[in-house]
């Protein structure tokens, strides 16, 4: 029983019981509820994972008191954040201050739409999925800027400005890295990009240029999601908490959740572009191995690859020291951008000459 057949059965059952319009409305509601509950679960899982990973890296135990192995720790934290008072500072711009966290979470929700979670299991199969993702993810900076400005606090404004400069510049090399795969697969649709990797993932098929693109993509999205070593926007030792210094309670939790969901989404896009999304791992003509791999459900492949990349990004956070602002901008404009520009030209030559593995 796969996820797509389950969705199909629900669709047919609803069609059998009511008119087409109501089916559409009900399916939208179901999708909305699923996305919201997925958000909640994702937040809990990723916070727990981050704390355990960091503890493991630093030879500590991590959360271990609430529930078995500390599994309920994130629940306890969420409950605490829910019942805390959501304070609005006196000097803040009240309307923008309260709407900024909602904007941040809305952008993350919009990004969920084109992601194929399993074979044929996707909310909106838009034919320009890749462009849609890069367009919508570039909007996340607006809510960060608004949050920093409306707090009426120097730390917040500085954090927001840093974050703005960082996201706008790193978007370029992330876009270039995405473009290499678009050139190779000849399509902007996420479904077709995955289909093009049936006989091997682009990371393996595309020689060195795709590996360079993958490395650049991972660096750029780490910066875009404001995570260490690029967490200039909320550098605790310099800016208290950056753009969300003044936020408390549920509004803070929404920013926190949006950050983790964005990490999930960029890793999911990375898995789709470079690691074949829900495509199982196949090794050439080794039929026995390929058949065993086919038995693993596509949703598990997708989640496995995505969480592998999330682990990589968490690993960065606990390994590298934070960059300075000038180093950060120098890395992008002096190194990553020229390299990725040359890389795009290389990949174009590769695609035209057909030198990648087919």
């Amino acid at each position: 029983m796969s996820l797509s057949s389950l969705a199909q059965q629900i669709h047919l059952w609803l069609l059998g019981h009511m008119s087409e319009q109501w089916t559409l409305v009900l399916e939208m509601i179901i999708a909305g509820i699923l996305v919201i509950s997925f958000f909640a679960v994702l937040g809990l899982v990723l916070v727990y994972m981050e704390r355990k990973v960091s503890a493991w890296m630093q030879i500590r135990l991590g959360p271990n008191r609430v529930g078995p192995k500390g599994l309920l720790q994130s629940f306890a934290d969420t409950l605490k954040l829910l019942i805390k008072e959501g304070l609005t500072p006196d000097g803040a711009d009240k309307f923008l201050f309260n709407i900024a966290p909602i904007g941040a979470i809305m952008v993350s929700m919009l990004l969920m739409a084109p992601i194929p979670f399993a074979k044929d299991f996707q909310m909106w199969d838009i034919n320009i999925g890749v462009l849609y993702v890069s367009a919508v993810s570039s909007l996340s900076v607006i809510s960060i800027l608004v949050a920093g400005w409306s707090s009426n606090n120097k730390y917040s404004l500085l954090g927001a400005m840093r974050s703005g400069a960082q996201i706008v510049s790193y978007e370029l090399s992330a876009g270039m890295a995405i473009m290499t795969i678009v050139i190779l697969s000849g399509s902007l649709s996420l479904t077709e990009i995955i289909q093009s990797q049936q006989n091997g993932w682009w990371l393996f098929k595309g020689h060195v240029p795709v590996i360079i693109a993958f490395v650049i993509y991972i660096i750029a999205v780490t910066a875009e999601t404001n995570r260490a070593p690029f967490d200039m926007a909320e550098a605790e030792s310099e800016l208290t908490a950056g753009f969300h210094t003044e936020y408390s309670g549920m509004k803070f939790a929404l920013f926190f959740l949006a950050e983790y969901v964005n990490v999930f989404i960029v890793c999911a896009i990375g898995a789709i572009l470079f690691l074949g999304g829900w495509m199982p791992l196949h090794i050439g003509e080794w039929t026995a191995f390929n058949h065993i791999m086919d038995y693993i459900p596509s949703s598990i492949w997708f989640m496995g690859k995505t969480f592998g990349l999330i682990f990589l990004i968490m690993w960065f956070r606990w390994t590298f020291p934070r960059l300075r602002v000038d180093q950060l901008l120098k890395l992008e404009w002096n190194y990553l951008l020229p390299i990725s520009m040359i890389n795009v030209v290389l990949v174009t030559a590769l695609a035209i000459l057909g030198w990648y593995f087919k």
């Binding site: 923008l96 849609y132 607006i142 800027l145 400005m161």
Partner: protein, 167 residues
């Protein structure tokens, strides 16, 4: 009313209201944010016309890049209602009158134009798809396209030159 029509009227109302609030709101930050909402509504219209590529590019270029820079500059300058110079009352009146004249001309022009007779193709029109657009840009309009790219390049070089002046 079909779903497309409901969406069309909703997006149109949103576009007009937010465009008005760009002009009306006293705080420049609110103006920029309203402009972003206007771009969203216009992108929605593009997507209703099945021109998804243009809609998304509109979002990337305007809402994602240009408006972020606008926000950046306005927030750093920290313009407030108090220290913003208030325009003369007569100047405001003159602005309203000339704007109204422009609208009158537009209405008169569009009343007799051919736009009336054409119904926009929604859902199955393919004029805005990436492939159609790319073929049109690189076959029929390749010279203007390249010339405009040179224009952008010169603008970028100019920005670098101005930025380097201090050193």
């Amino acid at each position: 009313m079909s779903a497309t029509q409901i969406l069309f009227w909703f997006l149109s109302a949103l576009a007009i209201v937010s465009a008005l609030s760009v002009v009306i709101s006293k705080n420049p930050v609110y103006s920029v944010l309203s402009l972003i909402i206007t771009f969203f509504a216009v992108s929605g219209h593009y997507i209703l016309l099945n021109a998804q590529f243009i809609g998304i590019v509109n979002l990337i270029v305007y809402a994602g890049a240009i408006m972020v820079l606008f926000l950046f500059v306005i927030m750093l300058m920290n313009l407030n209602q108090d220290n913003e110079p208030q325009k003369n009352k007569w100047l405001k009146m003159a602005g309203v009158v000339s704007g109204g004249c422009l609208m009158l001309v537009f209405v008169a022009a569009f009343k007799t134009s051919e736009v009336n007779g054409k119904i926009a193709q929604t859902i199955d029109g393919n004029i805005g798809l990436t492939e159609t657009l790319g073929k049109a840009l690189f076959n029929e309009y390749v010279v203007p396209f390249e010339i405009s790219s040179i224009l952008f390049l010169s603008a970028m070089v100019g920005a670098v030159v101005i930025g380097k002046k201090g050193d």
